[in-house]
């Protein structure tokens, strides 16, 4: 195994593009190192991106956009007052990952690129409308978060492509987001269902909404019908029923050791209701 510490994303990309074996980028390593220890993946090239300048930065751009570097750990996000105020749902998704120890290392982009349909920070990012900047052999491009996952353990990134950072759009006024997951325990578990809701209100009325489910399909699911159920409503009982029904209808889950199809389908609706209420309160409250 070769271990690399490139100084730029272009170099990181070039190393990855030139290899012929198994390649992994090393951000926090809370997936990669665990998989190596468990004999699941044995990389030929391990490319550590933590030596690249700027990867630890969390920056509020002039346009109100948040730029989060590729090596910013969960604990740095949950301790970031400005980010928590703008995007509490995104941060609470990341904040659910692992334990205090894991939080000291785990990153948003690692969570995204590991490709787990149950990744906790990804529904919140997608609901927020976040994008990532991708550096590759053919240059740089911006990609929507929901376009990265391709299925369990797979992404749409091409060989040699690496993600340099995440961009959260300007929060703007009267917005709120929330993420909830269901696990059979209280922590240190993997989402059986996850649901993020991001919305904006005008008075009591919802004007914009995005609803994203995790762990109920091979990738996260952006549920347009669920968003439609919210938009124009005041989150009344009928809207909540329609939201839950749309969320459940969007599920394409599997029966496995973590949950049944029926359970995941039901609970997706339950979490959608509960997350929508939190996001709605946040939108009307703080801002």
């Amino acid at each position: 195994m070769r271990y690399h510490t490139p100084a730029t994303f272009e170099d990181a990309s070039a190393i990855a593009a030139a290899t012929s074996g198994v390649t992994r980028f090393l951000a926090g390593g809370t997936d990669v190192l665990v998989q190596m220890r468990a004999d699941i993946v044995t990389p030929d090239d391990l490319i550590d991106i933590k030596h690249i300048p700027g990867v630890k930065d969390v920056v509020l751009e002039d346009d109100g956009c948040w730029r989060i570097g590729a090596a910013v750990a969960g604990a740095e996000l949950t301790a970031h007052a400005g980010l928590c105020a703008d995007w509490p749902g995104v941060v609470e998704g990341m904040g659910l990952v692992g334990s205090t120890q894991v939080q000291g290392r785990a990153t948003l982009i690692g969570n995204l690129c590991n490709g787990s349909p149950a990744a906790d920070s990804v529904p919140g990012l997608a609901a927020a409308g976040a994008e990532v900047s991708v550096v590759g052999p053919k240059g740089a491009r911006q990609v929507k978060v929901e376009d990265i996952p391709a299925g369990p353990g797979r992404t749409t990134l091409a060989k040699g492509e690496v993600i340099a950072g995440v961009y959260l759009p300007p929060r703007g006024k009267r917005g709120g987001d929330a993420y909830l997951r269901f696990i059979p325990r209280t922590e240190m578990d993997i989402a059986v269902v996850g649901c993020a809701v991001n919305l904006r209100v005008d008075g009591d009325k919802i004007t914009e909404a995005r609803v994203v489910l995790g762990a109920v399909a091979p990738t996260i699911v952006v549920v347009a019908d669920a968003a439609k159920a919210l938009i124009g409503s005041t989150l009344d009982a009928a809207a909540l029923d329609a939201l839950a029904a749309a969320a459940s209808a969007a599920c394409r889950p599997i029966n496995d050791k973590r949950g049944t199809i029926a359970f995941r389908t039901d609970v997706a609706g339950v979490l959608a209701r509960r997350a929508a209420k939190i996001a709605y309160d946040r939108a009307r409250g703080a801002k």
């Binding site: 325990r185 209280t186 240190m188 496995d256 050791k257 049944t260 029926a262 359970f263 609970v267």
Partner: protein, 746 residues
């Protein structure tokens, strides 16, 4: 053995000093199984079957052996043949012979100069399998057409016509069952199922083994019982026990799962072949796949009750699979099933069944939690039907001194009534509950154990005392032994050091199992140190020139027994010890026996849960353990045992389970998916220590380690029923199952 039981007026017993092993453990200095190194040491890695059931057609290790640094490969061909009974079972489980019997069954092992190399080499060992049909569920394994895992191996007890997977059959009871059911106002019968669970000890199995061509060997091993390791390993390898010296490491939990061997004989075989010491350390996945989880069970219980709550008759049929080997704990499960109650007519039937799963090992009160789940759930259902208070009904029927136990003998002094009375009086039982919340109660029993015990105590030149016991310290037993020695000698706790001796230093000791260590090693410690004080009285008598009968031992000193004995100032243990070299030589005490006065321990638990009606998620809000300890030597460690038992029982009740795929392979081989409760899942578990002294121990001790895991399974099920209105008769009560039950109820 008649004992002069002392139950009051203690100076050290019942205090809570720091444990002697505490600092080493919290500073990382304590040496566990994997912390041993030897010059020239190799690392051993196992090759395991990926199939639930497969014939091993050929094993080709040539590619592995061709790697530089690979020193030995062993298969079953490297072990002696001709073993019988449990010796054969253990050998077969440690290394498969002709057939791999479960997913994870060891089929070969390799030793190399580094762990990485050994892992690499293990992947290069080519095993040619012929996959056979498999069965993992106990009920399926008994059906016609189920693959016979070991045809013809059933023992004489099995009636004709049963599936060859049934290895043993047990039937017993007393009283007129039909008359009992006829006399009842309500007869209920239900079937309950429990899944296999794992002890989940935090330290994986590990050992460092050395065995020479001369047949002499040594081993450092993480175990609950090193004499068991010695006997089993020696048998598996065909060597004499005296030629194998086994030293136990510190141990990070066992709960019964470390009372047998898995890697130890294999490490010895590798060492013998390579001519070097070999270390083996299991991964967590190996622990879950290929050590000794519990049996899974399927249980029919029937009970008759009068309107006033009087139990009239009860019948249980227990089917348990213990993996691909006999000895599922049907015996103790049946014995515990109705042990809490004085029922005029009882009948027990048990089937010990093979399935393609790892060989079960002991887990905290083996069999009793499953039995309690069935019986105590049914008792709760009947109390509901008859609108009776579940604790008062238990009290009304409770076993007490003189009751003919459901399993035969007459109970001596026991403490079930006292635990029930304490539970009824506890504020928890009357505390208000909120919406979607419910309360459950249950009682449970474990008979405990005595077992072979050998203890030595030696006096130091300054009057301090070293006690050597053979029971590894898992739950603070060194502190308890030191307290008992201090009490018996009248010297400070700090002046007693307790060591866990190796197999070369004492007679045979059974493991720390059956909740026996504080009882049996404690009893032997007291008797051994009493020999020291007796000898010291003799030295004082000689010095004073008076007969030894005129000398008594009190507060750590020899004293004249009264004015007639003469006027002599007391001689302290320190003074006598300082001159012992000149007054007759070193002084030590030794006691060995197989004490059988272990008293059983009963417990009663109260639990409040809240069930989320939309997700089936259960949170445990409040939990109280009430249990009879006989006498709590070190109350903090007794409470720790109560809490630990409850925590493990809650895990078993709610989320822990062995999940097998259709291919017969274990699906949840890491702690992510084998869901033990995490700290934040549990409330602080409240404890009440009841002390009904055990007449079989000098200070009244009863074992407390196991009973605590028996009531939680039914107590939680009863609480879930109260909270959500649904009765779960299959464990675990995971959210999908509870939600499905809520939806089915409508």
């Amino acid at each position: 053995m008649p004992l002069d039981t002392k139950t009051t007026g203690f100076k050290y017993i019942g205090t809570r000093p720091d444990r002697p092993d505490g600092i080493d453990k919290v500073t990382g200095k304590a040496r566990y199984g994997a912390d041993a190194y030897a010059p020239g040491m190799l690392h051993g890695v196992m090759v395991r079957s990926p199939h639930a059931h497969a014939k091993i057609k050929n094993i080709d290790a040539s590619k592995a052996l061709a790697l530089k640094g690979v020193k030995a490969v062993v298969t079953r061909a490297d072990f002696p043949t001709g073993l019988e009974g449990e010796d054969w079972n253990i050998q077969e489980n440690c290394m498969a012979g002709e057939v791999a019997l479960y997913d994870g069954h060891a089929v070969a092992a390799v030793a190399a100069t580094s762990l990485l190399l050994a892992r690499e080499a293990a992947k290069l060992i080519e095993v040619d399998y012929e996959v056979l049909p498999h069965v993992t569920d106990v009920d399926e394994a008994m059906k016609p057409g189920a693959p016979a895992i070991r045809a013809g191996a059933a023992d004489y007890s099995v009636p004709e016509g049963l599936h060859p997977n049934v290895m043993r059959y047990i039937e017993y009871g007393h009283g007129d069952l039909e008359a009992g059911f006829a006399a009842a106002d309500l007869v209920m019968e239900n079937t309950y199922k429990t899944e296999a669970t794992h002890q989940g000890y935090i330290e994986p199995h590990a050992c460092l083994a050395q065995l020479g061509a001369d047949g002499k060997g040594e081993m450092w091993v993480c175990t609950q019982g090193h004499w068991f390791v010695r006997r089993m390993s020696a048998a598996a390898l065909g060597i004499d026990v005296a030629n194998l010296r086994v030293t136990p490491s510190e141990i990070g939990g066992g709960f019964g799962g470390k009372t047998t061997v898995f890697i130890e004989p294999v490490a010895l075989a590798l060492s013998r072949k390579a001519g070097k010491p070999v270390k083996m350390v299991m991964t967590r996945s190996e622990v879950l796949r290929a050590t000794g989880p519990t049996s899974s069970s399927s249980i029919d219980v029937k009970m008759g009750m009068k309107k006033d709550g009087t139990m009239t008759a009860a019948k249980v049929t227990m089917r348990m699979q213990g993996g691909a080997f006999p000895m599922a704990p049907i015996d103790s499960a049946l014995d515990c099933a109705f042990s809490c109650y004085n029922i005029p007519a009882v009948h027990h039937e048990g089937y010990d069944v093979l399935a393609n799963r790892p060989k079960q090992a002991a887990y905290r009160a083996p069999g009793s939690p499953m039995a309690a789940f069935a019986t105590e759930s049914l008792v709760d259902e009947m109390c509901r039907a008859l609108k009776l208070d579940p604790l008062k009904t238990r009290l009304q029927n409770a076993s007490r001194e003189g009751t003919k136990a459901s399993f035969g003998p007459t109970f001596p002094r026991i403490g079930l009534v006292e635990t029930l009375e304490a539970a009824i009086a506890h504020p928890h039982y009357a505390a208000p509950l909120g919406p979607n919340q419910g309360r459950g109660v249950a009682s449970g029993y474990w008979m405990n154990w005595g077992g072979e015990t050998s203890v030595s105590a030696a006096l130091g030149e300054d009057g301090s005392v070293t006690v050597s016991v053979g029971t590894p310290d898992i739950g603070g037993s060194r502190a308890s032994m030191a307290l008992m020695a201090a009490e018996a000698l009248g010297i400070p706790y700090e002046n007693v050091r307790v060591n866990i001796a190796d197999t070369g230093s004492l007679g045979v000791n059974e493991p720390t199992h059956g909740s026996r260590a504080t009882y049996a090693s404690g009893l032997a410690t007291i008797e051994a140190v009493k020999q020291i004080s007796t000898k010291l009285c003799q030295r004082a008598a000689d010095k004073w020139g008076i007969p030894v009968e005129a000398v008594i031992w009190e507060d750590g000193s020899a004293k004249p027994s009264g004015p007639n004995a003469g006027e002599f100032p007391p001689l302290t243990i320190g003074e006598l010890a300082a001159e012992m070299g000149g007054t007759g030589g070193p002084i030590s005490g030794h006691f060995e026996a197989t004490p059988s006065g272990h008293g059983g321990s009963f417990g009663t638990h109260i639990v409040d849960v809240e069930v989320d009606p939309e997700t089936g998620y259960t949170s445990v809000l409040r939990y109280t353990v009430v249990q009879d300890a006989g006498k709590a030597i070190h109350p903090a460690y007794v409470e720790g045992q109560f809490q630990g038992g409850a925590a493990q029982g809650i895990g078993w009740a709610l989320n822990e389970e062995y999940i097998y795929g259709a291919d017969g392979r274990l699906q949840n081989t890491v702690f992510l998916d084998y869901r033990i409760p995490v700290a934040s899942d549990l409330p602080m578990i409240d404890t009440v220590i009841v002390e009904v002294p055990n007449p079989g121990h000098p200070y009244g001790v009863r074992g407390v380690g196991e009973t605590g895991i028996t009531p939680p399974l039914p107590a939680v099920a009863n609480a879930v029923h109260a909270a959500a209105g649904v009765r779960l008769r299959s464990l675990p009560m995971s959210p999908p199952r509870i939600l499905a039950a809520i939806k089915a109820k409508g």
